[in-house]
Symmetry: C2
């Protein structure tokens, strides 16, 4: 009844922004991401009659009662699927800042799903685990698989066709993301609330939905063809399109800080100088620089000259979420 899993975060090249079903966490559009090896969540789950209530220990600190409703909802879903009643103890550690736009909910719910399903005695395949993880956090569906993956939008109302499929394995090519952390403060507007507000009020959201299929096609093809320019150009524009919908939400959601801005202009400047790199930014102020392995050291050096960067993490394509033998308690 105890199981542990590790899952990697993922960084989207074509972003997920907006749901068509809030309960089933079905997206308005498909998305493509790279599962990254540098940022992961480790989770241990134990269902046991000795527990009289669910408890969650996040990064070594027990969360206050009522402070982890999303975990409880996810555990309830798993208990229902497994036909069990036991309460659970969950310990979960992130090796990177929580809730600062670094996909901690993606790796978190992927690891929780894999560990809890096992601990509850469920035998789920990758597709099923992906759909389960999706229910906790949409982007978590992508962290179930490794390398370069697509989370299918799907068409069915029950979500049975909205899950992850792999586009390419981690070792497919030398594509890298250099993540520059510009702030480790928790963001003011969480993705879930932000995207709902965008769908409800942004005048450009229709334009987002109308053009995202083309972005998906280009990035999927670009990955398969190992065409870095195609992937980079499309991903950067897709990121700007997402942030443009955030900024034009009422009230505006602006995730960039001065350092974000500095890095954006630096990357655009590097390209003018002939260094091929692109940026992508999720719902937060961190900048992920897309590049090829040959330029990683040069980019790290360039970033060291930019004011306000707290930390740089080089991300390679990472593996799928998996069970591990070491437990956190």
């Amino acid at each position: 009844m105890k199981a542990s899993a590790i899952a990697n975060a993922n960084i989207a090249l074509v972003k997920y922004w907006g749901k068509r079903d809030k309960k089933l966490m079905l997206p308005n559009n498909g998305s493509i991401s790279m599962t990254v090896d540098g940022m992961s969540t480790n989770t241990t789950v134990e269902f046991d009659p000795k527990y009289d209530k669910d408890a969650v220990i996040l990064n070594g600190k027990e969360l206050p009662e009522g402070g982890f409703d999303e975990f409880v909802n996810h555990l309830n879903l798993i208990r229902e699927m497994a036909g069990i009643k036991e309460k659970a103890k969950v310990a979960t550690n992130n090796n990177f800042p929580t809730a600062a736009g670094l996909a901690s909910s993606a790796s978190g719910f992927a690891a929780l799903s894999v560990a809890a399903a096992k601990a509850a005695g469920l035998d789920l395949d990758k597709k099923e685990l992906s759909m389960l993880a999706r229910r906790g956090s949409g982007s978590a569906s992508r962290s179930v698989d490794g390398g370069f993956v697509e989370w299918l939008r799907g068409e069915n109302d029950d979500g049975s066709d909205s899950y992850v499929v792999q586009i390419a394995k981690p070792d497919h090519w030398d594509f890298r993301m250099v993540t520059a952390i510009t702030s480790t403060k928790e963001k003011k507007v969480k993705s879930r609330a932000g995207m709902a507000q965008t769908v409800a009020t942004c005048p450009y959201y229709k334009g987002w939905l109308e053009t995202v299929s083309e972005d998906l096609d280009k990035v999927r093809e670009g990955i398969k063809e190992k065409d870095f320019t195609k992937v980079g150009e499309t991903a950067e524009l897709n990121c700007l399109k997402m942030h443009a919908t955030m900024m034009t939400t009422k009230p505006p959601i602006i995730y960039w800080n001065p350092t974000t801005m500095r890095i954006i202009h630096s990357v655009l400047g590097w390209r003018d100088e002939g260094m091929e790199a692109y940026f992508t930014i999720d719902a937060g102020p961190q900048v992920k620089i897309l590049c090829m392995e040959k330029d990683v050291e040069d980019i790290k050096k360039r970033l060291s000259g930019i004011e306000g960067i707290e930390k740089v993490i080089v991300c390679r394509p990472g593996g799928e979420a998996r069970l591990v033998d070491e437990h956190l308690f």
Copy 2:
């Protein structure tokens, strides 16, 4: 044959972004602005047979031959209207940074139009001067009049219904703009090239055009009703909508710098604290803070604590473009 004029810059509350006719400078959408008293251009024009070519002295420095085609085109238009052939000497001074997103072309072409029309012997009324100024730079049509003005989109192919109308006189209310100059470098992408690129490539431009009429109605009504909240909220969102179209242009046009970002977050934070102020930003990195006179001193004090601001200019509603007796040469 010599005349001088002074015209104020204007700052748009509902922006102009995109043309439907490049030759006649007809806009895709109407715009509303405040003519500002703090930033102006002074221009002297002399048509005389003694000149064998047009010459332009900008801020005391003679521009190199071939470096002022837009001036020559405008002088040609005026010569054609007046039926004269004489070449001109033009001296023009801005009391604020040129080409850094501070509407120098608006005040510049308004002053040039008023001075040159007079020097050429033309007798034009305000509507005609506005249409003439528009041919030099679209937003210059707004600087011909004072206070709060609307540049009508118009429907006619010949541009005969695309000119400025006044919404309210300068002394209508205590509305102010506090301009924070964050960089005096010339911008990399000029408005004219930028908007053409947006119209051609931005997936959100359709959404811009679909929603701008509503913004115009709200800001026009808000000014008339002296409803600061209505004007401020609409203007801020309209600014973000314009910048969102710039950012999602291929290749992206990003005018904000780290200090721009700092001021945006500050203004949003001030509102959370109960100080009512909004921001607007034109095609450049400067931020104009919309406020009422009672808060100007407080805002200046707050701005003094923000890193990277080079200069603060308090702008009151300014008067219309006018002939002056003092010549620059």
